[in-house]
C-alpha cells in the first residue's frame, strides 16, 4: 500500500507538472452544476438586480467586476456558450418572482432559431433541467470539486468536451489514423476562456496573441455557421411577445444587446441575418429597448481576436461604456 501511495502520488505530481509546463493552469469547469448554482441565486434577487442571459458573446463581453464596480450590484451571469437565451428567459419569467432587469445578449445565429427545438435550445434546456433535477449528491459533488478544480491543472476537462481537454478520454481520442469514415474529419475546437465561481469569463491571452490558435476557433465558427439552420424571426417575436409582458407586469424589464463580432464572422452575419430584417424588426415588433454596437462609436471600437468574442481587457472597456449609456438612458441605476 505504501508503494502504491508513494508511486501514485509521484505519477500524479509528474502529470500535474507536465501539464503546467504545457501552459495549462487550474480553472473551473463552466458546467451545468456551476450554472445551476448561479441560476438558484435568481430566486432571491431584488428589483435592483440584473440577470444576464445570452450566448457566449454576452458571456465573454459583459464583465461582472466592472458592472459591479459601476452599479454597486453584481449581476447574475446565466449566459451560456452555444445556446439561445430564450428558454432561460421563459424559465425566469415563469418560475421565479424576479422583477429586476433581464439583459439579453443577442447573437443572431443562435437567437433567431425555432422555438422549443434545435441544438441551441436543447443545450440551454439541459442546464435548466439540471437546475430542477439536481440531487443532493450532485450538489455536494459540485461543491467538493471546486477546491480541486481550483488547485490542479490536470483537472482540465470540460462538460463541453473541448479538443484540448486533457482527460483520458480526450487524450485517447487524439490518436487518429487513416480516413475510414465518410465526410470530413472533425475539426478541433479548443477552449479559449475560463470562468470564476460567478461564471465571469476571462479569455485566454493566447487567443489574442497566438494567431494560429485563434484561427482554430475561427475555423470552428465557419464550420458551425455552415451547418446552422436558416434563421427565423416570427416564432421568436411571438415567443417574446408572450413572455415580456408577463415580466413587465410585475415590474421587471428587458434590455436587448447586440455585441461586437468581426471579420468573416461578421460578414456571414450581415449576409445571412441582416440587421434590418432581424434585429431592427425584432425590437420593433416586441417594442423593446435594444442597443446595437454599431450605433455607438464607443462600443464599435474593438476587434474580436477569434471574430466573435472580445479579448477581456476590451470587454472590460465595453462593459464600462455600455453601462454609461444604460445609466444615461435610466435603464440601469447605480445603487452605490
Amino acid at each position: 500500500m505504501a508503494v502504491a501511495l508513494f508511486l501514485g502520488l509521484a505519477l500524479l505530481t509528474s502529470w500535474e507538472l507536465y501539464w503546467k509546463s504545457q501552459g495549462y493552469f487550474s480553472e473551473l469547469d463552466d458546467n451545468k452544476a456551476l450554472w445551476a448554482v448561479n441560476r438558484a441565486k435568481v430566486d432571491d434577487l431584488s428589483k435592483d438586480d440584473v440577470v444576464i442571459l445570452g450566448s457566449s458573446r454576452a458571456h465573454f463581453d459583459l464583465q461582472l467586476n466592472e458592472w459591479e464596480h459601476i452599479t454597486g450590484k453584481r449581476p447574475i451571469m446565466l449566459a451560456s456558450d452555444g445556446t439561445t437565451p430564450t428558454p432561460v428567459f421563459k424559465d425566469i419569467v415563469e418560475n421565479t418572482n424576479f422583477a429586476g432587469t433581464v439583459v439579453i445578449g443577442i447573437a443572431p445565429g443562435l437567437f433567431f432559431n425555432p422555438i422549443e427545438k434545435g441544438f441551441m435550445w436543447n443545450r440551454a434546456q439541459v442546464r435548466i433541467d439540471h437546475f430542477y433535477d439536481r440531487t443532493y449528491a450532485q450538489k455536494a459533488n459540485h461543491y467538493l470539486s471546486l477546491p480541486l478544480e481550483r488547485s490542479f491543472s490536470f483537472l482540465n476537462a470540460s462538460e463541453e468536451q473541448w479538443s484540448d481537454d486533457i482527460d483520458l478520454k480526450t487524450l485517447v481520442q487524439k490518436f487518429q489514423f487513416g480516413n475510414r469514415t465518410e465526410g470530413p474529419p472533425p475539426i478541433p475546437f479548443n477552449n479559449f476562456g475560463f470562468v470564476d465561481k460567478d461564471r465571469n469569463v476571462t479569455m485566454f491571452e493566447k487567443t489574442k496573441t497566438d494567431t494560429a490558435f485563434a484561427n482554430t476557433v475561427i475555423t470552428a465558427w465557419r464550420v458551425f455557421s455552415s451547418d446552422a439552420p436558416p434563421s427565423v424571426l416570427e416564432p421568436v417575436v411571438g415567443f417574446y411577445n408572450e413572455w415580456i409582458p408577463k415580466l413587465e407586469a410585475r415590474g421587471g424589464k428587458v434590455i436587448f444587446l447586440r455585441l461586437p463580432s468581426s471579420g468573416s464572422f461578421r460578414e456571414r452575419e450581415l449576409k445571412n441575418i441582416p440587421r434590418e430584417s432581424f434585429w431592427d424588426a425584432f425590437l420593433a415588433e416586441t417594442n423593446s429597448a435594444g442597443y446595437h454596437f454599431e450605433d455607438y462609436p464607443q462600443l464599435n471600437q474593438f476587434t474580436c481576436p477569434e471574430e466573435s468574442h472580445l479579448y477581456t481587457p476590451d470587454a472590460r472597456v465595453l462593459t464600462k461604456e455600455l453601462l454609461q449609456i444604460l445609466i444615461q438612458d435610466k435603464l440601469i441605476s447605480k445603487t452605490n
Partner: protein, 471 residues
C-alpha cells in the same frame, strides 16, 4: 450517491472514521451504518427512502409472524402480503408506464381510442435489487430455510446496507444478517484488500467503461443510419465490455467497501466472458440474480423435477422474467428469450455432443459463447427494435453498403480493450483475483495499484451513473 463521486469519498471517510472510533458500541455502529445507508440513498431522492422503510417494516413483520405462526393458511397470507407489497412496488414504479403503454396499444389495436394520461413515475434507484433481497428473506422464512432476524436493527440494516443497496449483490439473509450479530472489524489485510477492490471497481467503471468504451457504444447504438457490419460489431463489443466493467465494477466496489467494514459479501461475477456455454455463463454473470431466479422462480416453477417439457417451460419463463427484471421494455424480454433459447438448445445438445474440454477447444467454445452473448446485448442496449434489427442485419453482413461511422483508431481502441478483457477472463476463469494477488510480489501489486489510481485520477470521471441503477 455514486461510488465514483467525490461526495461518496467524503461519505465513506466519515463512515469509516465513526465505525472505527471508540465512541460507538456495536449496536451504535450498526445504527450509524443504518442511518448512513439512508443518507446514501436519500442523497438521490429523500422521499423515496419511505419505500425502503415500508419494504423493511412489511418484511420484518411478515418474517416475525412466519417465525411464530404455525397455521399454514396464515403463513401463506403473510407470505402473500410481502409478495404483494414488494411486487406491487415493482409493478407500479418500474412497470407502471410500460403496462399503461401496452394497454393503450392493445386498446388501439381493438379499435378503442383510449388515451391515458402519462403517469411520469420516478423509478426508485435500485428498487429491483432491494425488493428481491427482502422477498428472499420472507420466502426463506416461509420455507423455514432461514432464521428470523434477531432484531429489527439487524433486519433494517440487511435491507439497507449501503454498499450493496442499489445494485447488489443481492444477498441472502442467512449470509448477511448473521454477520451483524457479532461485532465486526476488518483486519489490516482485509481493509487493504477492500480498498484495493474499491480501486479496481472504480477503475473498471471510470476508466474502462466510461472513458474507453461508452462513447463507441453510444455512437453506434444512437446512430439512426444503417451502419457497416464492422461498426455494428465494434459497437456491440464495446457495449459488452462497457456493461461488464460498469456492473462488475459496482459489485467489486460493493464487496471492497463491505470488506473495509469487516463484512463479507459474495462474488457477483466470475470472469463471465470466459464461460463455456450458457449454463456456465449464468454461473459467472450476475451470480446473485441468477441464483435468486433459480431458487425463487425456476425451482418453484418445477425446475427439472417434472419432466423435460416442464423444465424447458420453467427455463424459458425464468429467462423471460429475468429479462423483464432488467427493464420495462420488450427489448429486454427478447434479450431474456434469447438467453432462454440458448439454455434450452444447450441442454438439448448436451446428450448428443460429447466434448472433452481442453485449452484449444475450450477457448474456441468460450469465443463462440461470447459471440452469441453479443447478439443478445444488441437487444439489451438498443432502445428500439428497429435499431436492434438493423444492427443484427449489419452484424450478419446483410448491410454491405452500410455507413462507416467509427474512425479506425476507435475500432483499434475497442479491439485492444475487448481482446484484453477476453484474455484476462480466460486466464482467470478457474482462479480468483485474491489467489493471483497472493502469488505476485507485494511491490508489483503496489505498482499496479498506483497505476490504477493514476488512471482513475486522469480519467476525471464526471460521475456517470452506473447502468444497473436503472434496473
Amino acid at each position: 450517491m455514486l461510488f465514483n463521486s467525490l461526495s461518496f469519498v467524503a461519505f465513506l471517510m466519515i463512515v469509516l472514521a465513526l465505525y472505527y472510533s471508540k465512541l460507538l458500541s456495536w449496536n451504535g455502529k450498526k445504527r450509524m451504518l443504518l442511518l448512513s445507508s439512508y443518507v446514501f440513498y436519500g442523497m438521490w431522492n429523500p422521499p423515496l427512502v419511505i419505500l425502503l422503510w415500508i419494504s423493511t417494516i412489511v418484511d420484518w413483520t411478515a418474517g416475525k409472524k412466519l417465525a411464530i405462526v404455525t397455521n399454514s393458511r396464515s403463513r401463506k397470507m403473510w407470505l402473500i402480503l410481502s409478495m404483494v407489497v414488494n411486487l406491487g412496488f415493482l409493478a407500479f414504479f418500474k412497470y407502471g408506464n410500460f403496462l399503461l403503454e401496452n394497454f393503450t396499444t392493445l386498446m388501439h389495436t381493438i379499435g378503442w381510442e383510449f388515451q391515458a394520461r402519462p403517469m411520469d413515475i420516478i423509478l426508485p434507484m435500485g428498487i429491483s435489487f432491494y425488493t428481491f433481497q427482502t422477498m428472499s428473506y420472507t420466502i426463506d422464512m416461509y420455507k423455514g430455510k432461514t432464521e428470523r432476524a434477531r432484531t429489527f436493527l439487524d433486519f433494517a440494516l440487511y435491507v439497507t446496507f449501503f454498499p450493496q443497496l442499489v445494485a447488489g449483490p443481492i444477498v441472502r439473509a442467512k449470509d448477511l444478517i448473521t454477520q451483524f450479530y457479532v461485532p465486526k472489524k476488518a483486519s489490516m489485510n482485509q481493509f487493504i484488500w477492500g480498498l484495493f477492490l474499491l480501486t479496481i471497481g472504480i477503475f473498471q467503471k471510470v476508466v474502462l467503461a466510461d472513458a474507453l468504451l461508452a462513447t463507441t457504444s453510444d455512437t453506434v447504438f444512437d446512430s439512426t443510419k444503417i451502419i457497416h457490419g464492422l461498426d455494428a460489431w465494434i459497437g456491440t463489443l464495446a457495449f459488452s465490455g462497457q456493461i461488464f466493467f460498469d456492473f462488475a465494477g459496482y459489485s467489486t466496489c460493493a464487496i471492497g467497501i463491505a470488506l473495509m467494514l469487516g463484512i463479507v459479501l459474495p462474488d457477483n461475477f466470475k470472469y463471465p466472458y470466459a464461460a463455456i456455454g450458457f449454463s456456465d455463463l449464468w454461473r459467472r454473470w450476475h451470480i446473485s440474480l441468477s441464483s435468486w431466479l433459480r431458487d425463487y422462480l425456476y425451482i418453484p416453477l418445477g425446475g427439472n423435477r417434472h419432466g423435460i417439457t416442464r423444465m424447458y417451460v420453467a427455463l424459458a419463463l425464468t429467462m423471460l422474467l429475468g429479462g423483464l427484471w432488467h427493464g420495462a421494455a420488450w427489448t429486454f424480454v427478447v434479450w431474456g428469450a434469447l438467453h432462454g433459447s440458448y439454455l434450452i438448445v444447450e441442454r438439448l445438445l448436451r446428450p448428443l455432443v460429447k466434448i472433452k474440454i481442453n485449452a484449444w477447444n475450450g477457448i474456441f467454445l468460450a469465443l463462440l459463447t461470447y459471440t452469441c452473448v453479443n447478439i443478445t446485448w444488441v437487444y439489451f442496449r438498443a432502445k428500439e427494435f428497429e435499431t436492434a434489427n438493423n444492427m443484427i442485419s449489419s452484424m450478419l453482413l446483410f448491410n454491405r453498403e452500410g455507413e462507416k461511422i467509427l474512425p479506425a483508431a476507435e475500432i483499434m481502441k475497442v479491439i485492444i480493450v475487448i481482446v484484453g478483457l477476453f484474455i484476462c477472463h480466460w486466464i482467470m476463469r478457474n482462479t480468483s483475483m485474491k489467489a493471483v494477488s497472493q502469488k505476485i510480489p507485494s511491490w508489483l501489486l503496489g505498482i499496479i495499484w498506483a497505476i490504477l489510481f493514476f488512471l482513475i485520477c486522469i480519467a476525471q470521471g464526471s460521475g456517470e451513473q452506473f447502468i444497473y441503477f436503472q434496473f
